[in-house]
């Protein structure tokens, strides 16, 4: 049979091009399957991304609003003196407050009975706030003053749907009967939700005051840490990579260094944390909980990432460019700095941004140098203090909040994640802009 097929005059399997043979069909089917896998993989990825984004935004957005009560109060000098003469002074102020509130509600034709304890459960220590204000600003006496009082965490939760009536059945913090007052206050426009600037600008607060907690101070802490990481790890990493890649002799010793750098990139970050504790704090006596130390630890962690990616991008510069530069009489260093490094720059920036993003999101090493926990020092005063004063970092702050009992801290943790992601995105956008600029030059 084969012999007949081999003869010259036998038609050589003339087939129409428009009819696919079995092999082609199989091949096409395989390609189609592969494409389907690819699309499915991307779809799954996108699905999880969307789920993640939606859940973060849904859980985190409430952190950006807070519930406040705006009450306009006029306290006359006589009332002030009478209150100051009493034994329980703040109680006197609360009484004054209740009076004014009653009249305001009455103007809106809302009649609710409530006592000082209910006010305490809804708005916290009103009397103390008022007394403090008038003692500091006696000139305001006799004039109307608009007090903005933060509603308690549970009232806030009630407004955001976190606290339900069922949950308040036997609560001693906020009682079912108080909700009538809350509803009345809302109807009168006294209690309302506003944008929570404190969350963006404030520092951490005590466990009993979730309303006053903010992420601002730890954003500043993270910012200073990133400065340390950037200004240490980029020059050190790039210099080390250039030396290893372009200048160092290739021998067993440099091989060993190379292997170790790769291994370092895989070392758990908490190891760097304990190293930082031992070296920077216990041995070098650098200040505890300081962004400087945090930055140093994260630099150690980021260096291998930057070195590996920088070496990869230096390697990918075609050798013909080095030859060309050396051929016209450039020195090795001129060849590297005039030609190789600019071409490798986009890759170096990519590696740096990956390293920085990793460092920004790192919590474990900070745990060991005291940047996790209650570090409510607020804003550093001045640039140097920013590096040396105790502060927290965003992921550490989020971790601290997530570990606290009050549900509104949980909400703050989600809000903190939104701020962290925005910080990260702006860092990446900056890097992309820089990279574009470098790429455009060629």
């Amino acid at each position: 049979m084969t012999e007949t097929g081999m003869t010259d005059d036998a038609p050589r399997g003339k087939k129409s091009l428009s009819v696919r043979d079995a092999r082609t069909r199989r091949r096409n089917a395989a390609e189609l399957r592969f494409r389907a896998y690819g699309i499915a993989a991307i779809a799954v990825g996108l699905f999880f991304l969307v789920v993640l984004a939606v859940s973060i935004v849904r859980s985190g957005l409430p952190a950006f609003t807070k519930t406040v009560a705006d009450v306009e109060i006029t306290v006359t000098e006589a009332e002030f003196e009478a209150a100051e003469a009493e034994l329980f002074k703040t109680k006197a102020y609360v009484r004054l407050f209740i009076e004014k509130l009653q009249t305001q509600l009455g103007e809106n034709r809302l009649e609710v009975a409530f006592d000082a304890a209910a006010i305490g459960r809804i708005m916290g220590k009103v009397g103390g706030t008022m007394r403090e204000f008038y003692r500091e600003n006696p000139s305001e006496l006799g004039q109307p003053v608009a007090f903005q009082l933060a509603a308690s965490s549970r009232v806030d939760g009630y407004f955001k749907g976190r606290v339900t009536r069922e949950a308040l059945q036997d609560s001693r913090f906020l009682q079912l009967s108080d909700l009538a007052l809350v509803d009345a206050l809302e109807e009168a426009g006294i209690i309302r939700q506003t944008f929570n600037w404190t969350f963006l600008t404030g520092a951490d607060s005590g466990v009993d005051n979730p309303g006053g907690a903010g992420i601002g101070a730890s954003v500043v802490g993270s910012f200073f840490m990133m400065l340390v990481v950037l200004f240490l790890s980029l020059p050190i990493g790039v210099a080390a990579s250039i030396y290893l890649e372009e200048f160092a002799p290739k021998n067993r010793f440099t091989d060993l260094i190379e292997v170790n750098i790769s291994n370092l990139a895989a070392v758990p970050s908490i190891v760097f944390g304990i190293l930082g504790l031992a070296v920077f704090i216990q041995f070098m006596h650098l200040p505890q909980s300081a962004p400087l130390v945090g930055g140093l630890v994260l630099t150690l962690m980021t260096l291998p990432t930057i070195i590996i990616s920088t070496r990869a991008s230096l390697k990918s510069v075609p050798p013909s460019i080095r030859d060309a530069a050396l051929g016209v009489g450039a020195s090795k260093m001129q060849a590297v700095f005039h030609h190789v490094l600019p071409l490798a720059m986009p890759g170096i920036l990519t590696g740096t941004i990956i390293g920085l993003a990793q460092a920004l999101g790192e919590t474990a090493p900070l745990l060991l140098i005291g940047m996790v926990g209650f570090v409510a020092r607020g804003y550093p005063d001045g640039l140097i203090a920013g590096f040396t004063e105790p502060n927290s970092a965003m992921p550490a702050q989020i971790y601290t909040w997530a570990a606290r009992a009050d549900a509104s801290f949980y909400e703050k943790a989600w809000g903190g994640i939104i701020v962290l992601l925005v910080f990260l995105l702006s860092m990446n956008i900056l890097a992309i802009i820089l990279r574009r600029r470098f790429e455009r030059r060629w």
Partner: protein, 265 residues
């Protein structure tokens, strides 16, 4: 004045630029160049021919110490440029390469503008005082490389955007911009089409008036067309070295004859 001499295929007593004695090159354990003796004259085109892997490019790269960049490469023997041992410890390869320019097999312009490509050498060697002088050097070099008319209106355009032949001439312009004494060319036309090749060959013939040119080529026709002296390498040995006419018409060694008649390769 040189033109009258060089227009004839006559090799008379010219100044020796490079003289190599007993050169050995090793790549790790591989003995790539064996006992090579050669003398390269000034204002002459010397062609290195031979089958692939015979060591002609390796030897060329010894002449400006480009092999230094290869870790495993080791050069022994004596190579002198104007009587000075270029492998002496006191010699800075960077200074050597400023005097011995090189053009590579694949056109490798810098990913910069045409102007910057040519100006790079003069800049790093401080050959120009001021912008006007630099402009002059760039124009002169581009003219010498026979590419000025094609690029004079777009000196700011990237060098990598030119065609292959133009890129190679740009590389030649870049090499001559530093005023080298010797120009080494490692198969400069292997990536070019016939028209670009003939342009580059013409150019090489013109460059001979100012420089000593050493060209490695796979094409025997090219060697016959452009060179005055030809060296035939085979398996790391320099088999035969002499006037081009003699090598191609009356080779002394039978290996040379076999190669130029196409029997070994």
């Amino acid at each position: 004045m040189y033109d009258t001499i060089n227009s004839e295929r006559r090799v008379d007593t010219k100044e020796i630029k490079f003289s190599a004695r007993d050169v050995q090159v090793y790549y790790g354990a591989t003995h790539a160049i064996k006992d090579v003796d050669v003398e390269i004259e000034d204002k002459t085109v010397t062609a290195f021919i031979g089958p692939s892997g015979c060591g002609k490019s390796t030897f060329l790269r010894c002449l400006n110490r480009m092999n230094d960049t290869i870790d495993v490469c080791r050069v022994e023997g004596d190579i002198r440029l104007d009587g000075e041992d270029i492998y002496d410890k006191s010699v800075d390869p960077v200074q050597l390469r400023a005097r011995v320019g090189m053009v590579f097999q694949k056109p490798n312009p810098f990913p910069k503008s045409i102007f910057d490509n040519v100006a790079y050498g003069p800049r790093i060697h401080g050959l120009a005082r001021g912008k006007a002088e630099l402009d002059e050097i760039v124009e002169k070099s581009l003219r010498r490389a026979a590419i000025w008319d094609e690029v004079k209106d777009r000196l700011d355009a990237p060098g990598t955007g030119l065609s292959g032949g133009q890129q190679q001439r740009l590389c030649i312009a870049r090499a001559v911009a530093t005023e080298p004494e010797v120009l080494l060319m490692d198969e400069p036309c292997s990536a070019l089409d016939p028209i670009a090749t003939s342009q580059v060959e013409e150019l090489i013939d013109e460059l001979r008036t100012n420089y000593s040119v050493v060209i490695v080529t796979h094409s025997m026709q090219q060697a016959a067309r452009v060179s005055q002296k030809t060296a035939f390498f085979h398996l790391g040995y320099l088999v035969e070295f002499g006037e081009t006419g003699q090598i191609f018409t009356n080779p002394h060694d039978e290996r040379t004859e076999s190669y130029i008649t196409g029997r070994i390769g």
